[in-house]
């Protein structure tokens, strides 16, 4: 049927087809992996086989060490991310709608967004040491400036008519901000928190580069020394799955908290 063709852009396909296609892509990757390893194409210490990764996982779940690593990483990621969000959301909203705030903040963000976080690690160690604070700070720096820019964009895009309309209904400046600007920004804020949460995960290994003794990033780096590719892959898969879970959480929260919002 023309209207449901796989080949016409921007048309829906039925759910069964969608799921099938998704499963195919996962299956192809798995098959390729099996072929490379069981087929003897790549040596084992170069790429671990699927069953070895599963065994490594079972062993580390049995002695709880995988969960300890997960927990350590989650604490770092969530602390850094929440800390960044607490500052970035209000400042970003103000920055996007008040030229004065924009003028104050823009030079700093414009500069900081191009600095790789890893370049700041030596200074962080010097200033705040090698404890968990340093790891949290890496996540914070990695997400804060990106969040600031994205959220200020959300705020700048809120329609002027919406604001003007509130004035004609008798709102003063303060209430225009608290009762109109802030709620109007919420869907965009949630979307960008979700996106930057994903980016926060990508900083995990960098955060656990220095003087870590737990965490998934540490687990991976440590396994690299012994070329334990099964453990490296286990760490990679665990991070991916935790990332997916946080992503689902944000999708769910948006639908729950902002049922009025049109697009998700």
């Amino acid at each position: 049927m023309w209207t449901r063709s796989l080949f016409s852009p921007k048309t829906d396909i039925d759910k069964g087809t969608y799921v099938t296609l998704s499963l195919i892509s996962v299956a192809v990757i798995l098959a390729l992996w099996c072929l490379l390893t069981y087929g003897g194409i790549t040596p084992r210490d170069f790429l671990a086989a699927p069953h070895e990764v599963v065994q490594a996982g079972i062993k580390r779940m049995a002695n709880m060490s995988l969960f300890e690593h997960m927990w350590a990483s989650l604490v770092v990621i969530l602390s850094g991310f929440i800390l960044a969000s607490i500052f970035a959301v209000p400042i970003g909203i103000l920055m996007g709608s008040f030229r004065a705030v924009q003028a104050l903040i823009e030079p700093i963000t414009g500069f900081m967004r191009y600095i790789p976080v890893s370049a700041l690690i030596p200074l962080l160690i010097l200033w705040i040491g090698i404890g968990i604070e340093q790891k949290i700070m890496v996540i914070f720096l990695g997400t804060f400036f990106q969040q600031l820019i994205l959220i200020s964009d959300v705020s700048a895009r809120i329609s002027k008519d919406l604001i003007d309309c509130a004035y004609t209904l008798g709102a003063d400046r303060r209430r225009v901000v608290t009762r109109v600007l802030v709620p109007a920004c919420m869907p965009g804020v949630m979307d960008n928190l979700r996106v930057t949460m994903g980016w926060a995960w990508t900083y995990l290994v960098v955060a656990e580069l220095v003087a870590a003794d737990t965490g998934l990033g540490y687990m991976i780096l440590n396994a690299m020394r012994g070329l334990f590719t099964d453990v490296i892959l286990l760490g990679v898969f665990t991070i991916g799955i935790l990332g997916l879970i946080t992503d689902f959480f944000f999708k769910w929260a948006r639908r729950r908290l902002l049922p009025w919002s049109a697009d998700f």
Binding site: G170, P183, S261
Partner: protein
């Protein structure tokens, strides 16, 4: 008695890095109590600017602007406005949207709800009190916007092409509904449109604006009997008004075209 008076209003915009725009040039206008005044004019002639001045959302470069003898400075709840774009607050339900103004005034919850439910009925949206704007059609959204503006019981109701984005059937229905509401509540209305039929159908008086620089070219009293219904649109007197306004606007269109050509060749 004229309650709204604009005297020698000039508005010049000076956008950064662009030549200045003379949006309104020496405009004077009086609006009497309880009348339905319509301003009709071509796109870009400064209609919205004029309305935003009255709302207090814009300041004139020169000239005087008074409501009930008091100078207008800044927006206030005594001048309600309905915008062309959809401006319902999407996070509030229909009822909460209509209650927005009364709540800011500090009225009690039950008072606010009474005002809201009353107006929601007046715009025929009972049953939709708990709906969010995303669930409403364009026409319904503008009806809520009308109810919301009226909830403050403003001295004057400003409407900037509120039905511009609607299809012609919905538009006709909205015009009749607006007249109904106006008839039963007797408000002073300043309504803007570029649709001549809409102007004649709604207005007690119609002010024809010309483009660049915007000024009011002529004002006509429309003495079609009220209440007006759809058959008024085809009556001979309606046609007479339409002919007059069309020829006024036609001259303007030619002038604007010439000016544009001159600018191009210059």
């Amino acid at each position: 008695m004229s309650m709204l008076s604009l005297r020698d209003i000039t508005v010049r915009f000076e956008p950064k890095g662009k030549p200045p725009v003379l949006a309104l040039d020496d405009v004077s206008l009086d609006v009497a109590n309880d009348t339905f005044s319509v301003i009709v004019g071509p796109s870009g002639c400064g209609k919205s600017t004029l309305l935003r001045l009255v709302a207090g959302l814009e300041t004139p470069t020169s000239g005087r602007l008074e409501l009930d003898g008091q100078p207008i400075n800044g927006p206030s709840a005594d001048r309600g406005m309905v915008f062309q774009s959809y401006t319902l607050f999407p996070w509030l339900t229909v009822r909460e949207n209509v209650m927005f103004g009364p709540k800011l005034k500090g009225l009690s919850k039950s008072e606010c709800e009474d005002i809201a439910d009353d107006l929601i009925k007046a715009v025929h949206l009972d049953g939709f009190e708990k709906s969010y704007p995303k669930e409403l059609s364009g026409g319904m959204r503008q009806r809520v916007a009308l109810a919301r503006a009226l909830a403050n019981d403003p001295r004057i109701l400003l409407m900037d092409e509120p039905f511009g984005a609607l299809d012609s059937q919905t538009r006709q229905m909205m015009q009749e509904l607006l007249l109904d509401v106006w008839q039963s509540r007797r408000k002073t209305v300043l309504f803007i449109t570029h649709d001549i039929d809409e102007a004649i159908f709604l207005g007690d008086e119609v002010h024809v604006m010309s483009a660049r620089p915007g000024l009011i070219k002529q004002s006509l009293d429309i003495s079609i009997e009220r209440p007006r219904h759809i058959d008024a649109l085809t009556s001979p007197e309606f046609m007479d008004y339409k002919r007059t306004i069309l020829s006024l606007m036609h001259d303007e269109a030619i002038k604007a075209e010439d000016a544009a050509n001159q600018r191009k060749s210059a």
